[in-house]
Subunit: 252 residues, 5 copies
Amino acid sequence: MDIGSVIGLVVASALIILGMGSYVTAFVDFPSMLIVLGGTMGAILVFFPLESLLGLGGIVKNVFFTQNQSTSNVIAAIIDFAGRARREGILSLQNVANETDDEFLVKGINLVVDGIEESVIEQIMTNEIDFVEERHRTGAEMLASMGALSPAFGMIGTLIGLVIMLQNLQDTSAIGPSMAIALITTFYGALLANLIFIPFSGKLKARSQQEVLVRRLTLEGILAIAAGNNPRVVEQKLNSYLAPKLRGSLTG
Amino acid sequence: MDIGSVIGLVVASALIILGMGSYVTAFVDFPSMLIVLGGTMGAILVFFPLESLLGLGGIVKNVFFTQNQSTSNVIAAIIDFAGRARREGILSLQNVANETDDEFLVKGINLVVDGIEESVIEQIMTNEIDFVEERHRTGAEMLASMGALSPAFGMIGTLIGLVIMLQNLQDTSAIGPSMAIALITTFYGALLANLIFIPFSGKLKARSQQEVLVRRLTLEGILAIAAGNNPRVVEQKLNSYLAPKLRGSLTG
Amino acid sequence: MDIGSVIGLVVASALIILGMGSYVTAFVDFPSMLIVLGGTMGAILVFFPLESLLGLGGIVKNVFFTQNQSTSNVIAAIIDFAGRARREGILSLQNVANETDDEFLVKGINLVVDGIEESVIEQIMTNEIDFVEERHRTGAEMLASMGALSPAFGMIGTLIGLVIMLQNLQDTSAIGPSMAIALITTFYGALLANLIFIPFSGKLKARSQQEVLVRRLTLEGILAIAAGNNPRVVEQKLNSYLAPKLRGSLTG
Amino acid sequence: MDIGSVIGLVVASALIILGMGSYVTAFVDFPSMLIVLGGTMGAILVFFPLESLLGLGGIVKNVFFTQNQSTSNVIAAIIDFAGRARREGILSLQNVANETDDEFLVKGINLVVDGIEESVIEQIMTNEIDFVEERHRTGAEMLASMGALSPAFGMIGTLIGLVIMLQNLQDTSAIGPSMAIALITTFYGALLANLIFIPFSGKLKARSQQEVLVRRLTLEGILAIAAGNNPRVVEQKLNSYLAPKLRGSLTG
Amino acid sequence: MDIGSVIGLVVASALIILGMGSYVTAFVDFPSMLIVLGGTMGAILVFFPLESLLGLGGIVKNVFFTQNQSTSNVIAAIIDFAGRARREGILSLQNVANETDDEFLVKGINLVVDGIEESVIEQIMTNEIDFVEERHRTGAEMLASMGALSPAFGMIGTLIGLVIMLQNLQDTSAIGPSMAIALITTFYGALLANLIFIPFSGKLKARSQQEVLVRRLTLEGILAIAAGNNPRVVEQKLNSYLAPKLRGSLTG
């Protein structure tokens, strides 16, 4: 679970509820929610192909719940494999899948063990990376579009509320509450966009960049193993992907 | 028919009408509709060349009603043709048009059968792809411009309504309904932009990308056939265009 | 004359005047017009060099009144010239200016007849195309800036009206009409931007692209003639610039 | 002095003051000016390094008061120098500084006279051009940022005025004037942005492009002189930088 | 300490407080601050990875408090080192760290003294520069996002205040103060964005560019020393990074 997101959502919600004080129930209005959320979702269904939308849940879940592989661990594993391949031969990596749960790394090592040509390995795994990137990019775009649509439907809801209120001006005691309800859709739209959709889109982009970096590094390592590189050379190559303070001798 | 768009439009409209409750008739105002739609359309006529606008209907219809060729079917067909060309010669593909309704593929195969040089085939068909892309891009731009213009004409309509209302302030009982009508054009403008024009523009872009991808893949397959490539090589080349989970052995 | 623009302006204006109904005179206020138009023009004089602004009228007129050369006619003329040059020699093109009113084409043919080196012809005519492109681009930018400035000066006018009105609140019967006049500048600014400036900028861009395409094609044809290419080869080269449905054998 | 800017500022100001009529004094409020201008300037001090800001005045002055070198004059001077260098040798250009007040040209000619290597001349003078470009770009960015900040501080001032007014609702006769003063900061912010900051930024960009073009052309001329090119060749090279209607034989 | 930022913040704050006059206490509302700041911070926690956010404080502090190395000093030091390396050999630079507190320069010189290959030095130090750039870029993006989020949460706070106020319209004497408090969150959001977040983001970008320029120049100098270049050549190379008026003979 992504701790930052949880803390952020809890803190912001708590302070907003605090600001509402004893009027908190005045901010719960089911029909207003339906207009904002339903309108946004309806427009998104027109906006993006159904296949993309059906994949959105999975992407968001993956991004917020899956721990990214730690860059240093991946580098350590690859250097270890490179050493073994050198000492005991490529075939000694056959059972590598038992030692790591990094599917992308396992797939790459298996291609090396199977004796697939380097250029083909590169093509296959680069395609894989591109597809992940594209899927994440579409996901971030969908969330950003929701962040643009929800305030618009919030305003549409407020316009509906205002028009209804203006038909009933004779009952002056009802003007205040009617207008309050009209404003609530704008409130929902702004809150959804600025606390959920836009920040989610941002984090998805950051996580995707991080994941793609790890995969690029993994691919470079696998190609170095396939080329029979010395583990020290492999380490030098991969270390350039690490932030300076994380670098250190992993081969010892 | 594009199911997602239908569901999206129905859901959003239903929830918005639900939100209007018994006041739904207060939101139907023909002159307001004329100002928003007419103003937007008038401005679009000034904005884009007439030829482009006349083509918009067709593009939108194609995009929402035509089923895109399934990528796997196109690949399967090309691999099949590649196999036949190898076994029975290029000329055996002469009647291929009877087996597929994919005009672009048929046109390409015919060029191969006619013995046109590979580089010429590539140029002709790339031009074709570029023209489709350009036409779709213009279409998406027109829809996006409508999405920017309709809220503006909604606001223009509201300003007209407000100015008229302000001339009649003495009749206080009329203020409410007059103002309600003034707001309706803003409501129309916002709804048209956020439920129709902007999402349509988005889907047009996504469909176009998908169609262009299929055509690029088709072109690569046709060039491989013209070059007399082995069906397995053709398959390998084309599979890199498929999402990983869709890949599989199509040659068997 | 550009029919689409005329229809668009007439339709939009008619519907907007229809929406004003019997209050149409309430929307004519000369001082408000002066603030919006004068403010926008004043700011544009600060914004762009005087030389560019003085050329704007001509650019706009050219774009909306000059019929672009039809692409097919230009191609047909070039193929015809290529054929004559082959049969009767380059010098036979000397009087070509009598047969076409396309100045750019005439200029190019004259350069060929004068025996100027191909690379020099290319440089001279490419520069010419670049200058046209640059002039159109500046024109489109000026119109787009007017589209951004006029709503701003509309709001500035409304602020002026509101401040004046707020000084006179004691005369309650004047509040309505004063506020109405205050809003009219916003109305003017929005209408000018969304019906005139922004759409004009858009059409200027589209026409410019079309004109530049025709000139690129003309240049390629002239270079082919200078190189003594076979008319059929010239046709093949130029046809790739045509939309598929417009292609056909022009040499016969 | 840049005539267009003066006319633009005078016309726009006159029409706006005309629109204020007899209420013109109601629009002069010193504290409001302090909030908008002071806030904008304060934020700009945080935004940009002090060195850049201190240079802004000079850049703006240069751009609006210095007459750009006329392109044709510069070309004529270079062709003249090229002719003299050919007839009387490079050293004859030693006293060229007496004949032109174009510092950049003089500097270049001096480098040629000093016998500096061509590639070094090119590097030195290209660096010079880059620094001018960079300084102008930063200037245009600063003005554009002021154009974004001043409406924001206008709104901040209005919020301050509204909050103060809302504390004093009991004195109903003061509401109008208080609110009028509150709106004045928004008026100042919008006027500064749309009549001064944004248009100044635009003109700075246009002048900078023009100046850089003249310097590029000057550099090319100087390199041609250093290479001992024939004056006619120099003319041909430089003429391609001129708009077609300005071209003509300068060597005669 | 960055003097410009201090002056800017003091001046803007002073003028704004001046504008508030005797009502300054009316603008201090702790719950409103909590909603705007807490909401913005909560959303930022969802928006960016925790690691990036934890580094933000350090980046901001570094940028506003660390004096950038003066470009001329760095160049003078490098030319001095280049001279010594020539006269007394590379190893004479071993104790260079005692003479300068520029860590990046020291690190580079040490790599040269250690006899590391030039291409490896370049790779290591370029990576270092890239990581600094990336960290600053992320920092500037975070501040810019806060500048977009804080006005949004200001508006959300105002909507909360309005909804609460509208529930209590019967107590007319409370309407003014309630509405005043509702507006204060919008005031906070606008002030934070336009005086703090957006300008800080701008200065971070400018400082980062300056720092990266100094490091690029340092790297070029170190590579020249490693290559055993003559100090005069080193000076020529590095001077091209200086603004013209700062150039001068540093070797003498």
